[in-house]
């Protein structure tokens, strides 16, 4: 379809300055947080009203034009990668907090509201929104719904799906429905659970009602160093076996610690093979109790060094190191590639050992940060994007890590989503029948397939191609094949 024709059809229901199509205007939107994949959208629309969103959907459905919704564009799996023949629907202007009900402890917000902005808006009420992905300063709640985002406090406080009461969405035909309600459950099938984490393939988010929690009275963090990753991994199991569910439980390996310490000066010990941060929260009495027990367990588990943050400033500094791990690694390498597999925690040392072997084989460095409590591993593969061979090796290295995650009984993605990045690895985790079931569920919502086509669930053809290529590992061409 001609760009002019599409622009005219869209402008019939959207204020014209909200429809961008000149190359200099659309170029800033060519990728999301996964910069390895880029595509210029045919048209970018920045709607400001529900009517405009619905008009875009109806128009695109009538014309058979793909629609990719985008929040803040911080996603790490290319879920908001534009479609070269389609419309990129940027929801950033839906940025109002509509209602805060402190008695019911809920907030009703538009999808473009930033994750952290919710907590900031209710901070004076001593409430907060629990899921806290590392990108929470920038990422939007609409994107969090699409990805079912997690964060460092998931083990105790859950993912997005556990903290959202309802979502109002626009469907492919421009109709609007609300799934979920202000009650704790709803009649019929749990369409809310289905919508959350559907990566923009089922509907476009227009409004979200989130649950708010009272801020803990106190939070304390203890840092423990280990001379061996296995010991560090075991200590996590020991804490849980003692009946303690910490608010946060994070691990970094030696290379990650080195990168972070150089960047943030968080006081991390540079000789550690593994560093563990364990946070406990609750009332003052609970925290004092649990902290003492956690310290004892860590000591028994062979920690070579233990430090409890003595004040809030130091607590934030300990965390700043962990939360800066990605940019810190960004400083020691021109580019890095962040993986997101989840594994049963008991296989941690095996997985780390295998990754070290891969690191040598591919000739690329790798630093590991790990949501240790819930088994979600973020290996950061270091490479130079200007070197095509390194890019390819990084991609292969990443793919092999994901396959290893599946092999030990885990998953290819814990919280970043499949997007375009892990679409081939979906063929490893799911059978053809399972993938077909995903496609029929997609068709139940979007029978003509205009919403974010080509993402999240691979076609069986693509898997067949990938399977074949997989045998000739090392000769796999850049996987553009059938991407859209």
């Amino acid at each position: 379809m001609e760009t002019g024709q599409l622009v005219a059809a869209l402008a019939a229901g959207v204020q014209s300055d909200r429809v961008l199509f000149r190359e200099q205007d659309t170029a800033p939107y060519e990728c999301d947080g996964l910069t390895m994949f880029k595509a210029k959208p045919k048209v970018v629309v920045l709607p400001e009203t529900r009517d405009e969103v619905c008009h875009v959907l109806k128009t695109c459905k009538a014309l058979g034009v793909p629609v990719v919704a985008r929040g803040a564009g911080t996603g790490l799996s290319g879920g908001a990668l534009p479609h070269a023949e389609g419309v990129l629907l940027v929801m950033a202007k839906f940025s109002r907090i509509l209602e805060i009900d402190e008695d019911a402890r809920i907030a009703r917000v538009e999808p473009g509201v930033r994750n952290l902005a919710i907590s900031e808006a209710v901070s004076h009420l001593d409430l907060y929104y629990a899921p806290d992905p590392s990108s929470q300063i920038a990422c939007s709640i609409g994107g969090n719904i699409a990805e079912n985002s997690g964060g460092v406090h998931c083990l105790k406080y859950g993912l997005t799906v556990h903290n959202v009461l309802s979502v109002t969405v626009a469907l492919d035909d421009g109709s609007i429905v609300t799934v979920g309600s202000d009650a704790l459950d709803s009649a019929g099938y749990d369409l809310l659970a289905l919508t959350i984490g559907s990566e923009g393939l089922l509907a476009v988010v227009l409004e979200v009602t989130v649950r708010l929690l009272p801020k803990p009275e106190e939070m304390r963090v203890v840092m423990a160093a280990f001379d061996d990753v296995t010991k560090a991994g075991d200590s996590v199991g020991n804490i849980i076996a003692a009946g303690i569910i910490p608010a946060g439980l994070e691990m970094m390996d030696g290379p990650a610690v080195a990168a972070v310490e150089d960047f943030v000066k968080a006081g991390y010990p540079l000789d550690a093979e593994a560093l563990l941060l364990c946070e406990v929260d609750g009332t003052k009495e609970e925290v004092a109790d649990e902290l003492a027990r956690v310290e004892a367990i860590l000591k028994e588990s062979g920690a070579t060094m233990l430090r409890v943050a003595t004040n809030e400033e130091e607590r934030l500094l300990f965390w700043k190191g962990r939360k800066s791990a990605f940019p810190a690694v960004g400083r020691i390498s021109p580019d890095y590639y962040c993986m997101d597999g989840t594994i049963p925690r008991k296989h941690l040392s095996l997985v780390l050992r295998r990754m070290r072997e891969m690191s040598e084989r591919y000739g690329l460095r790798c630093a590991n940060v790990f949501h240790a409590g819930d088994g979600n591993l973020h290996p950061l593969i270091l490479f130079d994007a200007n070197d095509p061979d390194e890019v390819k090796r990084a991609e292969d290295f990443g793919a092999e890590i994901l396959e290893l995650s599946v092999e030990v009984g885990g998953t290819i993605t814990g919280e970043h989503g499949v997007g375009i990045e892990k679409i081939n690895e979906m063929c490893v985790q799911f059978s053809s029948d399972e993938l077909t079931q995903f496609h029929t569920v997609k068709a139940a919502f979007d029978p003509t397939g205009i919403l974010n086509p080509g993402k999240a669930v691979p076609t069986l053809n693509r898997c067949a191609e990938f399977g074949k290529m997989h045998i000739h590992h090392g000769q796999m061409p850049h996987p553009e094949l059938e991407r859209f």
Binding site: S186, A193, P214, T342
Partner: protein
């Protein structure tokens, strides 16, 4: 032939299939049209490692077996599913999606599901989700299948998140009206107290605190009231609905799910749970007004009367949502073969 294989074959041949677990919840969500097959022989805990906080079991495994296995490791199902009999199975728990008092604190049955294996309407045995806490690969069909009363597929295996049994539990009782109870809970809800259950019944608010002993004790002091002696008996009575208040003869029992802050003067409940989110009312037999009432309050009603005729159990759905429900059913079971007559198919 193993049961799963038999069921796959029957569905592949487009024969209708109905399944039940221990058949303890037959009074909920419509009536099966076809003679059901019991999943009770499909039993056994497949994997349980306490430090991974995950248990996987075949769907016919009884809740009793699972709970006794968990308690040996001092762990529990976080959502305290109601037990309507010793035959109650984990498959039935998930198919009905019911949760007990602790739901307000640690989440519902759906929240705790990590993965399932199910047989879809084409007779394909499929696996969704897994055995890890965080997993966003593919649509969340495991959580979708919770509360579907088996109509989206025959559940064969379930992986569920488990948690440690709290070090200490203590229940405080405050004599007050239902309206006062809600006000109190709104106030308490703003504080980070370890409240694991909150229910008003027979003129008293019961608040259960769970966690580290010191935290429980200090919160109990702040909340006040009397400490209940036989607390576990009280909470079981509520969880399993064996308390006398739930068994008034000649009346119909209804569960109304609403926003927890819904004013008490709009809804004449004899009991609430989940800090107000789950209310229990009774009506004369055949009185279907709770559906309208619940809809007006933005919630939904479920009939729990055991002696009712078929076709009056679940809240009628709003048209847009109903259309999506039908399409999802069609996607999972295109020929409409599984558990005919239940959930969406009950006649209103």
């Amino acid at each position: 032939m193993p049961l799963v294989e038999t069921l796959c074959k029957r569905l592949t041949a487009k024969e209708p299939v109905s399944v039940i677990g221990g058949n303890t919840k037959a009074f909920l969500a419509g009536r099966l049209n076809d003679e059901p097959v019991s999943m009770l022989e499909h039993t056994g805990i497949i994997n349980y490692e306490p430090t991974e906080l995950v248990l996987t079991a075949k769907s016919g495994t009884t809740l009793k077996e699972i709970e006794s296995c968990l308690s040996e490791a001092r762990q529990m199902l976080p959502f305290e599913p109601p037990r309507f009999g010793d035959q109650s199975t984990i498959g039935g728990v998930m198919a009905s999606g019911l949760s007990g008092p602790r739901r307000m604190h640690l989440g519902s049955a759906r929240d705790c599901v990590l993965g399932v294996r199910l047989i879809n309407g084409l007779g394909q045995h499929l696996k969704f989700g897994g055995e890890v806490m965080k997993n966003v690969a593919g649509y969340d069909l495991s959580r979708l299948s919770v509360g579907a009363f088996g109509t989206l597929g025959v559940l064969t295996e379930i992986s569920v998140k488990v948690l440690p049994i709290p070090e200490k539990e203590q229940t405080q009782v405050l004599q007050c009206t239902q309206a006062e109870a809600l006000d109190t809970l709104i106030r308490i809800g703003r504080r980070p107290y370890p409240v694991s259950a909150a229910s008003w019944i027979s003129g008293a608010l019961h608040i259960r605190l769970s966690g580290a002993a010191s935290g429980v004790e200090s919160a109990a002091l702040a909340i006040g009231g009397e400490t209940l002696n036989d607390a576990s008996q009280f909470w079981s009575g509520l969880r399993d609905m064996t308390a006398t208040e739930f068994n008034s003869a000649g009346e119909w029992l209804w569960r109304i799910s609403v926003a927890p802050t819904t004013p008490t003067n709009t809804l004449d409940a004899f009991c609430f749970d989940w800090a107000g989110g789950q209310r229990w009312i009774t009506t004369e037999p055949n009185d279907l007004s709770p559906f309208e009432l619940a809809a007006r309050l933005g919630g939904h009603a479920t009939c729990f009367a055991r002696d009712r005729e078929a076709g009056t159990g679940m809240q009628p759905l709003e048209s847009g949502i109903l259309r999506l429900n039908h399409r999802v059913k069609e996607a999972m079971d295109p020929h409409g073969l599984i558990n005919r007559g239940r959930l969406l198919e009950e006649a209103h």
